[in-house]
């Protein structure tokens, strides 16, 4: 293998003039978390509202709630992202559409992305040019040709974030597990 490893690349200045590559990636992580957080709050609010609608006795409201869920579950996220980014501004009245299109970067990508997203998929936002973590790793790779260092760093940052979530979930699963099946711990600790 003739790949030139250069881990020192993280301390080199990135061509945009904002500082080192490391800082560049960390800012990306910040955008990832900001998008995820905004999307999560929004998703929780809308989810609670729609979920409640689906339990009402009014059939047309239930049907509306069901339709909402089906539409969003059956279209790939990346396609939805394109819909929010490209199609929505065209469908709005001209003034509003232009306002959306002319939002200064990165807000022009951030708003559609946050609107469209749930927490796990925020890296898809790079396709509409939101420079979050994956987008910045890709940009760093293109500027510096250090493919593996860039993606390794981005992956590690992501892993650390998600590992916390996975470990938390595992503890939760262990606490609510029902005894008597292959999956349950042997009866010793049960109560």
């Amino acid at each position: 293998m003739n790949y030139n490893w250069n881990w020192g690349i993280f301390l080199a200045a990135e061509p945009g003039g904002t500082g080192t590559y490391l800082k560049y990636l960390l800012v990306g992580l910040g955008w990832t978390l900001a998008t995820a957080l905004a999307a999560w709050v929004l998703a929780l609010a809308i989810g609670a509202a729609v979920g409640t609608l689906r339990t009402t006795p009014m059939p047309w409201v239930v049907r509306l709630g069901n339709a909402y869920v089906e539409v969003f579950r059956n279209v790939p996220l990346i396609v939805q992202m394109f819909l929010w980014y490209f199609v929505l501004p065209e469908l709005l009245p001209k003034g509003a559409g232009d306002w959306v299109k002319q939002m200064p970067p990165p807000w022009g990508s951030y708003v559609p992305a946050a609107l469209c997203l749930g927490i796990y998929n925020s890296s898809v936002a790079l396709t509409i040019g939101l420079l979050e973590l994956t987008g910045r790793a890709k940009a760093m790779q293109e500027f510096s040709f250090q493919v593996f260092e860039a993606f390794a760093a981005a992956t590690v940052l992501y892993l650390l974030t998600n590992l916390v979530v996975v470990l938390g979930m595992r503890r939760l699963v262990a606490r609510v597990r029902a005894p008597g099946f292959i999956g349950a711990a042997p009866a010793a600790g049960a109560h």
């Binding site: 293998m1 003739n2 790949y3 089906e70 539409v71 579950r73 059956n74 279209v75 790939p76 996220l77 990346i78 396609v79 939805q80 394109f82 819909l83 490209f86 199609v87 065209e90 796990y120 998929n121 925020s122 890296s123 898809v124 790079l126 396709t127 994956t134 790793a137 890709k138 493919v147 593996f148 993606f151 981005a154 992956t155 992501y158 892993l159 998600n162 590992l163 996975v166 008597g180 099946f181 292959i182 999956g183 349950a184």
Partner: protein, 229 residues
């Protein structure tokens, strides 16, 4: 931009489905079949009493589940040529291309999710059945092959199929390595003819119709299975 021009869809329909949708469907089916096989093996490893096996499979699954699919797609796209060069002891990175890279990526990635489904399936079988199988003198592979896995598979069939619908939608992410799947084909036409709005809407509609129909089918299947039990 002027008015909308939906003729662009009709003009490119043949190309979109012949090239794009074929790519998407083939990738989905290949990743599903291989993913389920690898996933089942991983699930058996995770539940194994041999600690290193369980640890290895658990680590793999948690790793895959902690990294976004887009990142995994990039990783494999850039890594596979180097791994290939290393395996074949070649001097230059092997040219792999988006297709093979995508098949490998989705197989490896989905295997982790299918593993978790199969693990839940295996765990849904009463412990007594395994004890009974061992009491009858069956070994591990016989117990798994004849007793546990067939039931686990049937219990989990709706979930496995639902995961496959998700996989079908996720294959659109090969857009990021410029592969010509359904979305890729549509976006190429859209960029050529400046018809982003029409093409995006059309792509969304097609994905919706297919996924919605499939999920309805899975629901019916689920009801039928529930009756049999």
């Amino acid at each position: 931009m002027g008015g909308f021009d939906f003729d662009v869809i009709e003009r490119s329909l043949g190309n979109l489905f012949r090239e794009g949708m074929t790519f998407t469907v083939t990738l989905t089916l290949m990743a599903m079949s291989r993913g389920i096989v690898f996933g089942t093996l991983l699930a058996m490893m995770r539940l194994s009493s041999l600690a290193p096996l369980a640890w290895l499979a658990g680590g793999y699954v948690n790793l895959m589940r902690s990294v976004p699919l887009v990142r995994v797609i990039f990783w494999f796209y850039f890594l596979v040529p180097y791994i290939g060069a290393w395996l074949l002891a070649a001097k230059e990175p092997v040219r792999v291309g988006a297709w093979i890279s995508a098949v490998i990526t989705f197989t490896m990635f989905e295997a982790a999710y299918y593993c978790e489904i199969m693990r839940a399936g295996i765990q849904s079988i009463a412990r007594g059945q395994v004890a009974a199988a061992y009491a009858l003198g069956l070994d591990y592979w016989q117990t798994m092959g004849y007793i546990v896995l067939p039931q686990a598979f049937r219990n989990m069939l709706p979930v496995l199929l639902t995961q496959t619908i998700i996989l079908f939608q996720d294959t659109s992410l090969v857009y990021v390595i410029s592969a010509t799947d359904f979305l890729g084909a549509a976006s190429k036409v859209a960029n050529r003819d400046y018809r982003l709005v029409e093409m995006c809407t059309f792509v969304a509609a097609v994905y919706f119709v297919i996924s919605f129909a499939l999920s309805k089918l899975v629901k019916r299947l689920q009801e039928r299975i529930a009756v049999i039990r």
